[in-house]
């Protein structure tokens, strides 16, 4: 499941961040910011009409992300926190 499909308020665990293209700087920055395996993540808010952008909480930080950026994050299946 991708981060973009996560419902608001539901907790999940990050599985990995996939590069969208070669030398994906956004993906590598996401990893630096804490989107790594095993990290709890939660969607805090999402913009109306399509949910772009969304606000996620990773660890103890909140980030506003576009769908395209959040799309890179895959979540561990069957996890709930």
């Amino acid at each position: 499941m991708r981060l973009t499909e996560l419902a608001k308020g539901v907790g999940a665990i990050v599985d990995q961040v996939t590069d969208l293209h070669a030398a994906d700087a956004v993906a590598s920055r996401l990893r630096d910011l804490g989107f790594v395996r095993g990290e709890p993540v939660r969607v805090v808010a999402s913009a109306p009409f399509g949910g772009d952008p969304i606000v996620v909480q990773i660890g103890s930080t909140r980030f506003a992300l576009r769908r395209a950026e959040a799309e890179r994050v895959t979540l561990a299946t069957g996890a709930a926190a």
């Binding site: 590598s28 804490g34 805090v44 913009a47 109306p48 952008p53 103890s60 930080t61 395209a68």
Partner: protein, 608 residues
């Protein structure tokens, strides 16, 4: 006496409070420049440690990582390693981390540790950590990291004393231990598990406020309400001070007038300098009040929430989410805003933002608005506690923003390119503003204003006065003396162009110096009316008697959409490397302003 000066560098993630720490260490002794060869800001300062040792501090740009993706990070890494040409090697690195968010900040600390240079960790925002019940075993952390760890509260007086003592008394700090593990995140988790107790990952206060601030409907309402209240405050607080300054200058003018000998020099001083510059100076309180609230919003951490809420709207008119900051910066002055568009990768988006940025009412137009509103909008309460003048100011600003949205939307129809619109924005914890930093910010704003006043505005006022006074009226003159001067000639000629908008010749004339600095329109109007014979009367009452409400409204609308100052045009030329863009920017705004003013004037006249 002490040994040689110590060079220290401050590093940290964004939002770790590094700036407040830097301000507290160096006070007002700061210098901002650029690193040689790049357009990265270099902040430096100095302080004297208790032992008498001179300490030079460099505040490096906030960075999430040393991965060298952006020029900020490249510079930070190079300076820390002592590789940056022209930069002294820092003897000590002070890494600043937010104690309430070590999960994010510690990773950077570990990355900096890998550089193998002497460093010290400053755990900042310890007051917020204590409030949230976060307990950190500082000794254990220090031992695991292999470096001194000091608690700081940058926003509190004396909150950096321990840090200064640590910097001061350290014998050369040993370079920290080699990293334990390869994966920084795994190492961070291990460290946190052993040394930090965190009851909850988020602050309950943040959660509660964000439930409203990030709400799709209430968030927008909150933003609109905030802006509305800010403009109310500008009038409620600023106006009495403005009136007081105006009275003071009136009295001063009278006194000086009697003290100086007869002749043209007296005219220059009373009508030109005191009337002209004094009137503009009178609006400084309102500018400062506006900036006070803007700084307050910035310090509180609310602005990223506003960016989130507005993002949908921005994208729908064809502006990228990254346009928010350049456009917001334009409220102070369009120039940094236009330069800030460099962060927009898509060239079409960038051009759209550059063309639209000047519509955001810059602080230089505030004296013009304040003057006209003060003269024509009655001081009446609305719904009991709000005032009508504040409402008028709010409407003018909103008009600028609405025009910007409209123009961006039009630009969007013209060309479209599909490019990734990055956002990736941290929403930091809300925090109480630091009054000292706000005071510093206001001081700097006031200094900029005074510099303009004694520079461009002074020069223009002298020139305007000169052309208003010479040549003097010939023998047997029938009209007022000023009509025969150069100013009269130019003004009457220009009026042919602006008559449909309801501008009289004095207003038409004042539009010329307004090209160099928008506020000068106020100074010029004051000078023109003073030379023209309005003895002792304040400009506001002079305007009230000489121009109609419809003309005033038309002039306000003109300034809301008017072609911007020369400096902005120069920057557009420099940033776009094209005269066509400058012509386009000037041209479309002239047409927009002319049309809007024409409509306003005629509708207002028809309604009256």
């Amino acid at each position: 006496m002490s040994s040689a000066a110590l060079n220290i560098a401050l590093v940290g993630n964004p939002n770790c409070g590094k700036t407040a720490l830097f301000n507290q260490l160096t006070g007002a002794r700061q210098k901002v420049a650029n690193y040689a060869g790049v357009t990265v800001e270099r902040k430096s300062g100095a302080f004297t440690a208790p032992s008498g040792r001179h300490v030079r501090v460099v505040d490096l740009p906030g960075a999430y990582s040393l991965q060298s993706v952006s020029p900020d990070e490249r510079v930070t890494q190079a300076v820390l390693q002592g590789r940056y040409p022209g930069e002294a090697v820092p003897d000590l690195i002070v890494c600043v981390a937010d104690a309430t968010n070590l999960r994010l900040h510690l990773r950077f600390v570990l990355e900096v540790r890998r550089l193998g240079r002497p460093m010290v960790l400053a755990l900042n925002m310890m007051d917020a950590a204590a409030r949230r019940g976060i307990r950190i075993d500082v000794a254990a952390l220090s031992q695991r990291l292999g470096m001194p760890v000091i608690e700081t509260i940058a926003v509190r007086r004396g909150g950096t004393r321990a840090l200064v003592a640590a910097i001061d008394t350290q014998a050369p700090v040993p370079a920290p231990a080699a990293p334990e593990l390869d994966d920084l995140h795994v190492e961070v988790r291990a460290l946190l598990a052993d040394t930090v107790v965190m009851p909850a990952p988020t602050d309950r206060r943040d959660d509660a406020i964000d439930r409203i601030a990030l709400h799709p409907v209430f968030g927008v309402l909150l933003l609109a309400l905030t802006m509305f209240l800010v403009f109310q405050a500008v009038y409620a607080i600023g106006k009495p001070m403005t009136d007081a300054i105006a009275d003071a200058f009136g009295t001063l003018g009278g006194v000086v007038g009697e003290w100086l000998p007869e002749g043209p020099l007296r005219g220059l001083v009373t009508d030109g300098l005191l009337a002209g510059l004094g009137t503009v100076l009178g609006f400084l309180p309102q500018i400062l009040v506006l900036f006070f609230f803007i700084l307050l919003l910035e310090e509180s951490g609310y602005l990223p929430r506003a960016a989130f809420v507005l993002d949908k709207l921005m994208v729908s008119v064809g502006l990228s989410g990254r346009s928010f900051i350049p456009l917001l910066s334009s409220f102070a002055c369009a120039i940094p805003g236009i330069m800030g568009t460099r962060s927009i990768t898509d060239p079409r988006d960038r051009l759209a933002t550059i063309l639209v940025a000047p519509l955001m009412t810059c602080s230089a137009r505030l004296p013009v608005y304040a003057l006209l509103i003060g003269a024509f909008i009655p001081h009446r309460p609305v719904l009991g506690i709000f005032n009508l003048q504040g409402l008028a100011l709010f409407c003018l600003y909103v008009a600028g923003i609405a025009a910007a949205m409209f123009v961006a939307w039009v630009a969007k129809r013209v060309g479209r390119s599909r490019q990734e619109r990055a956002l990736l924005m941290e929403l930091p914890s809300y925090r109480l503003p630091n009054w000292r930093d706000i005071a510093l910010g206001l001081w700097e704003r006031g200094a900029i204003f005074l510099k303009r006043l004694t520079g461009v505005m002074l020069a223009l006022t002298v020139l305007m006065w000169a052309i208003c006074t010479f040549p003097s009226a010939p023998e047997g003159a029938t009209r007022a003396a000023i009509d025969y001067s150069i100013a009269g000639y130019i003004g009457h000629s220009l009026q042919l162009l602006f008559a449909p908008l309801g501008f009289n010749w004095q207003i038409s004339l004042s539009l010329i110096p307004a090209f160099a600095a928008r506020e000068t329109a106020v100074a010029t109007l004051a000078t023109v009316y003073a030379v023209g014979g309005e003895e002792g009367a304040a400009l506001q009452s002079a305007l009230a008697t000489h121009i109609s409400l419809a003309s005033a409204l038309s002039l306000m609308v003109w300034f809301a959409f008017a072609p911007q100052c020369m400096s902005t045009l120069a920057i557009i030329r420099r940033e776009t490397q094209s005269w066509r863009m400058v012509a386009l920017s000037f041209g479309y705004m002239f047409v927009l302003a002319y049309a809007a003013s024409f409509l306003t004037y005629n509708i207002a006249r028809w309604l009256a």
